[in-house]
């Protein structure tokens, strides 16, 4: 799993993103290998979410390249992008379940409409995934009747239903009540141990320390440090990272 030499699934080169006059990402160069779990941490406003959204082109980079399995996404048209996005699942801070559809309909929608799976196959997959996230009894419920933790687990199942090669998590536990954080992290941890390639923007330092293969510390539009969690948390190199970790420990 911890294989640095494998072919990179994702690679960014000189990635830059500007909003108006605000230079959010200045020059990012990193790569993600197959099966790797990356935790992206850093102070608020560092550009972590923007970086993640540039990986599947929800935000269009201003310049630079984003390579998915060697293919530069910034050069693709809308149709090709849709095709690529099938392989990159994304989980959002605010869940973003479709409120007018039941839990199982949420999960089946993309496999049926995008991949053209027949209903029986999609249902079987959805039921299996619901079991995996521990919500098999909620298949016919509407999202509004679920707790935040349950909704986020459905959202993970929904992303997994497309059988993606990479999962992107954008602060998946930040909007949750504290008692529900654990159930979501547990699902993510299971996923990691099954070998899923993951990029996780998070403030859960425990999760980063225990699950990540690598921690990227981002601040001021750059990735300041890229290191194994043990190294990063025990011996941060930059002042920026030392400062950040000190503040977190104080809290």
């Amino acid at each position: 799993m911890n294989n640095e030499t494998a072919t990179p699934v994702l690679e960014v080169k000189h990635l830059k993103k500007v909003f108006g006059k605000n230079e959010v990402l200045k020059d990012i160069n990193e790569q993600v290998s197959n099966g790797q779990v990356i935790c992206l941490i850093g102070p608020s406003g560092a550009g972590k979410s923007t970086f993640l959204r540039c990986l599947n082109m929800l935000d269009q980079p201003t310049s630079g390249e984003v390579l998915f399995e060697g293919q530069d996404l910034t050069k693709l048209d809308d149709k090709q992008l849709d095709k690529t996005r099938e392989n990159m699942g994304m989980v959002f801070q605010s869940f973003n379940l479709f409120p007018h559809k039941t839990v199982i309909e949420n999960i089946k929608l993309a496999p049926v409409k995008v991949k053209g799976e027949d209903d029986a196959t999609a249902t079987a997959t959805a039921e299996k995934l619901l079991k995996q996230v521990g919500l098999e009894n909620k298949a016919d419920a509407f999202p509004a009747s679920l707790s935040g933790g349950q909704q986020q687990r459905v959202a993970i199942a929904r992303a997994l239903a497309m059988n993606p090669k990479v999962m992107l998590f954008d602060e998946p536990t930040s909007a949750l009540d504290p008692e529900m954080v654990g159930e979501v992290l547990k699902v993510m941890q299971d996923l990691a141990s099954e070998g899923m390639t993951m990029v996780v923007v998070t403030h859960e330092m425990g999760f980063a320390r225990n699950v990540a293969d690598k921690v990227w510390f981002m601040a001021d539009g750059y990735i300041q440090e890229s290191a194994e969690p043990k190294t990063f948390f025990e011996h941060p190199e930059t002042d920026r990272a030392k400062d950040f970790l000190a503040k977190i420990l104080e809290a």
């Binding site: 599947n56 929800l58 809308d78 149709k79 849709d82 095709k83 996005r85 099938e86 990159m88 699942g89 994304m90 959002f92 605010s94 973003n96 379940l97 479709f98 409120p99 007018h100 929608l109 993309a110 409409k113 995008v114 509407f142 509004a144 009747s145 959202a155 929904r158 992303a159 497309m162």
Partner: protein, 496 residues
């Protein structure tokens, strides 16, 4: 009603600007030999389409004959003779008096006969036959005022009603300067206004005034004593340059005059229809129940126009909303201009424009014109409602959908629109309810909707209020039914 005249003027101006009446200055006189194709065209289609405003007894008025509303009266007898002499069938089109000349100029009808006086002003835009009848002007007043009102001069400081666009309207305007002039489209509305004390007298053509006085309790007709302003009497109007039709009509009129058919035959015949107005059997025939078929037909047309317009308006509105939200500048520009323009102009003008204005290019029947206008109008309003609905959906929904690989259009179809629809459902319901009500304006171009039918019943029965009350209740049943239906579907869209 004055506003209406202004709008009509606008339409006429557009018609004129479009250069249709290019041969406007051709002077017509009855001895000119005909070189035009009008008569041969009428003969070719085998029918003479006559426009009239049947609220003008004894010239033309409607009568419930075996459950069907027929236009009868002196003018109709003359039309029959004219058509017969041409060797073709007579087809009668009813419309507002104000719309008659526009209809003639835009080729909706071949001739207009409506107790219409030949005036130099009108002769500028149409060609007239010789005068077939000339009568003086009367005032219709309440019996109780008989002692105080002797002529128009007794009405200083009081209100006189007249049909908009009529000769009497101009006489009152020019001579009864101390009185207030109230113009209305329909004589039946004027009678109602007199009965309910909105006005003190109605200026009408003598035979018409006498007909109304005879058939309405408590009203009498007196001589108005207007100064003669050089009226030549009633004549038949034809399109400018239709000399062949004028010649043919003049031949028929000459024969009518020679045999004195108007006084010997036509007026007595018309009187027979009118005379029954106060008898007991007539009262039974005038009960609203006898006219149920009219109301049923009216409701049918109103529902049909509304249903078709709701569907087309909804589809058009969705398209416009998507265009407005699209990044394509051209699509966006078209949509914004369309919505602003349609919302910024009255539906009534749009209907008149489509029927008369567009009618110059392609001949669209009145019903279709009405449906088109109401649909196009509704589309603009629905577009704004749908746009607000789409904008109300959080951007996260789009992002989640796109991240799953759904395309832009799939996202719109499966994720955004279904949710937007639920949010805007009440607003959409409002829009559809007002569409049912606003569709009533199509009656001005002669579409036989509920309002149109209630007008006919008013004219037929000489009862002003009852048909209105029934019409109001019928509209309420339709709109209330629709809002219940919308509520039912709203309930089914709730997800808990």
């Amino acid at each position: 009603m004055k506003k209406f005249a202004k709008w009509l003027l606008l339409v006429v101006t557009i018609v004129v600007t479009l250069g249709v009446t290019g041969n406007m200055n051709t002077k017509a006189d009855s001895n000119t030999p005909a070189t035009d194709q009008y008569l041969s065209k009428v003969k070719a289609k085998g029918e003479l389409v006559v426009g009239t405003s049947p609220d003008f007894p004894p010239y033309e008025f409607t009568k419930n004959i075996n459950g069907k509303s027929k236009v009868v009266g002196m003018d109709m007898e003359i039309s029959k003779k004219v058509a017969h002499d041409m060797g073709v069938k007579l087809v009668i089109r009813r419309m507002d008096f104000d719309s008659l000349l526009v209809a003639l100029q835009t080729g909706k009808v071949d001739m207009v006969i409506a107790g219409m006086s030949k005036t130099p002003k009108r002769a500028k835009s149409v060609d007239f036959s010789n005068v077939y009848y000339k009568a003086g002007e009367d005032l219709v007043i309440k019996k109780s005022d008989l002692k105080t009102i002797k002529s128009y001069k007794s009405l200083a400081g009081k209100a006189i009603g007249a049909q908009t666009g009529s000769i009497q309207y101009n006489l009152v305007k020019n001579q009864a300067t101390k009185s207030t002039l109230k113009g209305m489209d329909k004589d039946t509305d004027l009678i109602l206004a007199l009965q309910t004390n909105k006005i003190d007298a109605i200026a009408l053509d003598q035979p018409t005034a006498e007909a109304y006085a005879k058939n309405t309790d408590g009203l009498v007709a007196i001589n108005a004593h207007f100064k003669d302003e050089g009226e030549q009497g009633s004549a038949i109007a034809f399109p400018k340059g239709a000399q062949s039709l004028v010649n043919s009509a003049n031949k028929s009129i000459a024969e009518i005059k020679a045999k004195n058919l108007i006084h010997k035959q036509y007026l007595p015949n018309a009187g027979k229809y009118l005379a029954t107005g106060k008898s007991k059997s007539a009262k039974a025939a005038n009960s609203m129940w006898a006219y149920k078929d009219f109301f049923v037909a009216g409701v049918g047309y109103t529902l049909m126009i509304s249903a078709v317009s709701v569907v087309i308006g909804f589809l058009l509105g969705t398209l416009l909303a998507l265009m407005r939200l699209s990044k394509n500048k051209i699509a966006n520009g078209i949509s914004v201009s369309y919505i602003e323009f349609v919302r910024g102009t009255p539906l009534m003008v749009q209907i008149l424009f489509i029927y008369f204005g567009l009618g110059l290019v392609v001949n669209i029947p009145a019903l279709l014109s009405g449906i088109i206008a109401v649909s196009l109008n509704s589309g603009a309003y629905v577009a704004e409602v749908i746009r607000s609905g789409i904008s109300s959906i959080a951007v996260g929904q789009t992002e989640a959908s796109r991240s799953l690989g759904l395309s832009r259009s799939m996202t719109m179809r499966f994720i955004i629109l279904p949710q937007a629809m639920k949010n805007i459902w009440p607003a959409l319901g409002n829009e559809f309810v007002s569409l049912i009500k606003e569709s009533s304006i199509v009656s001005i171009i002669g579409v036989k909707d509920l309002i149109y039918q209630s007008r006919i019943v008013q004219a037929d029965t000489y009862r002003g209020v009852m048909p209105l009350l029934i019409t109001m209740i019928l509209y309420f049943i339709m709109t209330f039914g629709l809002s219940r239906l919308m509520k039912f579907f709203e309930g089914r869209m709730t997800h808990e």
